[in-house]
């Protein structure tokens, strides 16, 4: 349910559109940065309010809290790779799922790679592209059909 709400807002704000993200990255319009910043500000207040009120999680009654991590090299290395992919596809893991729901099937191909690769920590060798494309693509198409 919460995921659906997230997907709805992503679709509504059109961050599922290639051009919207591209205009953001080319610094043509500030909207997506403003979305991120206002989301951060709202969430920062919201989660601190929950913690201050000693709220308990609805599913398992654990006290609401979170962990923070110190920065490490992997955050920089991983984020450089992520940023490159982001700039090419002009979408990222959240919006791409919302794209599928919106019928923007170009997202199918963008989705495919994280599925294949994510269990490995090392970046993939690029020579392996395309070998299993058709099969996985059909798999996704079936998955989508269920949502129609």
């Amino acid at each position: 349910m919460v995921g659906a709400a997230f997907g709805f807002v992503l679709g509504w704000a059109r961050v599922t559109d290639h051009d919207v993200i591209r205009n953001m990255l080319l610094l043509r319009e500030p909207d997506v940065f403003l979305i991120m910043m206002s989301a951060i500000a709202t969430a920062a207040l919201g989660v601190r309010a929950l913690r201050a009120l000693k709220a308990r999680a609805i599913v398992d009654d654990s006290p609401v809290n979170w962990k923070v991590e110190p920065p490490a090299k992997r955050h920089i290395g991983g984020s450089v790779l992520f940023g490159l992919g982001w700039s090419i596809a002009a979408t990222c893991p959240g919006p791409v799922a919302a794209q599928l729901g919106r019928g923007q099937f170009a997202g199918l191909w963008t989705v495919r790679r994280p599925f294949d690769r994510n269990t490995r920590v090392r970046p993939p060798a690029h020579t392996e592209h395309g070998s299993r494309g058709t099969e996985v693509r059909r798999h996704h198409r079936r998955r989508i059909v269920r949502f129609r």
């Binding site: 807002v9 990255l25 989301a39 984020s79 990222c92 790679r113 294949d116 970046p123």
Partner: protein, 158 residues
């Protein structure tokens, strides 16, 4: 319903996303992240226990996208991908290869960094995590730089 056919302005979409982060933390006591669902799904298909809540969350995003299309302009299936088509051409094969490569970079990078735009960029930042700040600055800077390089290389006035 008119408001739903238009693009939501940032001062509505942003705070709503912030409230969703808050709500998810309240319900599950877990940080929001879109990438986790893909990671869990890969693990699940390889015999790990599942499906966990992150898969449902990511499927929820798909459903939410569907709802937003139904509530807005209506749902149409398309492979068209905006100015991407002008940059890289409309060939489905090229699109598949380029987007799959981009997806691979994001998958590997996001996994390595432990978060994506929603995980580090919005959720981790709101928690005040130093790792998220470093990650977010890095991927936004990289993406802005790379987008300009792509526009310069493939520009064609798009």
């Amino acid at each position: 319903m008119d408001a739903l056919t238009l693009r939501a302005p940032w001062f509505i979409a942003g705070p709503l996303i912030g409230l969703i982060v808050t709500l998810l933390l309240w319900v599950t006591n877990k940080p929001l992240g879109a990438l986790g669902g893909y990671i869990e799904l890969t693990g699940w298909t390889r015999g790990r226990p599942g499906p966990g809540w992150r898969i449902y969350f990511t499927l929820g995003i798909v459903a939410g996208g569907l709802l937003s299309a139904l509530a807005g302009d209506g749902w149409t299936a398309t492979f068209a991908y905006g100015s991407f088509d002008q940059l890289f051409g409309t060939s489905l094969l090229v699109k598949a290869v380029v987007l799959a490569a981009a997806g691979a970079l994001m998958g590997a990078g996001g996994r390595l960094a432990g978060g994506c735009t929603s995980g580090h960029g919005v959720c981790g930042m709101s928690f005040g995590s130093p790792a998220s700040l470093v990650s977010t600055v890095t991927f936004i800077a990289t993406a802005i730089g790379a987008a300009h390089v792509i526009a310069w290389l493939l520009g064609r006035g798009v």
